[in-house]
């Protein structure tokens, strides 16, 4: 057998070189990524809604203190009261450390959830839970901004709402800090809330 011709040898070198690149590039990329500073948290969406006293509440004016937002309705039999009860417990657990932390309960059902009804409802929970309402359009805009899904579903006696059941976390500089999802364990929730409080003090 004759030795491989020059073009064949060259092809071998090219293949080996390409192979090395394929292996090496991701490695280099991984190393670079692992040493690069973490990407800054993106800006959280904003809302303009109404407080239960009729005043305008703009999320852009809330910066300086971290907060959370939950979209729900008072005629929600399980998920909303469970979420609010758990959240109230976590806030109690945080104690003094969480004194600046507020959570906004935005009604997705302004037709039935009057400010009086929301006030009564939220009295059941931590005083750091604040009710927000607005016109259907204002609430819809806020829900869209947060990618909150909600949909009216008829029942034999009226209607209920399907809706996103996440608590959105926003830090003191108005940046996203993740969510608290339904049925999160107490320890995981407290960890996320402490991280939220620790994120870049104002």
């Amino acid at each position: 057998m004759s030795r491989p011709s020059a073009p064949a040898r060259n092809r071998g070198v090219i293949v080996a070189g390409a192979f090395a690149l394929v292996i090496a590039l991701p490695l280099v990329a991984m190393l670079w990524l692992s040493t690069a500073p973490p990407a800054p948290a993106p800006r959280a969406p904003t809302f303009v809604l109404k407080g239960l006293d009729g005043s305008t509440v703009e999320s852009a004016r809330l910066t300086g203190k971290p907060f959370g937002v939950f979209f729900g309705f008072t005629n929600c039999p399980v998920v909303c009261p469970t979420t609010m009860t758990e959240l109230s417990g976590w806030l109690a657990d945080l104690g003094e450390a969480g004194r600046d932390l507020k959570f906004y309960f935005v009604t997705l059902d302004p037709a039935r959830d009057t400010p009086e009804k929301l006030r009564d409802y939220l009295e059941n929970f931590s005083p750091r839970l604040v009710g927000l309402t607005g016109t259907a359009e204002e609430i819809d805009a806020a829900a869209k901004a947060f990618s909150v899904y909600y949909k009216k579903v008829p029942t034999s006696s009226g209607y209920t709402l399907d809706h996103t059941a996440l608590i959105f976390l926003i830090d003191a500089q108005g940046r996203w800090r993740g969510v608290l999802d339904y049925n999160l364990s107490r320890s995981a929730a407290l960890e996320r809330l402490r991280a939220l409080l620790a994120a870049a003090p104002p």
Binding site: C76, N124, D162, N183
Partner: protein, 147 residues
Amino acid sequence: MQRILPIVFAAALAGSAQAADVQIGGLTIHDPSAKQSPKGADVGAAFMVIDNRGNADRLVAATADNADHVEIHEMAITDGVMKMREMPGGLDIPAGGKVELKPGSYHLMLMGLKQPIAAGATIKGTLTFERAGKVAVDFVTPPAAAK
């Protein structure tokens, strides 16, 4: 996946104040309970476990004396979204099967509450099954949650 365990755990905790089991035909209703409802809410939820030693049956109606009426619902949370549907045809109880009405799943929805469901309260109600008929139950609300 991670959502299942806490639900089971919560259900186990909620089971600390239990109502008496109720039997009708081949059906045994374990631990009928109602969730404490916040003041201001017009709706509540009730749960139980239905054990069927007999033929296939179906829960078709329910009443609770503190509610205008009661609907049978199913609920699920998928990708952070809670979805709830009325089951107008009722809830199938398969022969030899067991059906759990629990948070995050099937439940009775108490509509038009006449007053909030207080911790430790007992609510008188009825369940109607297609075959077994109607039976009285006491929905017991656990005492104030020890959180």
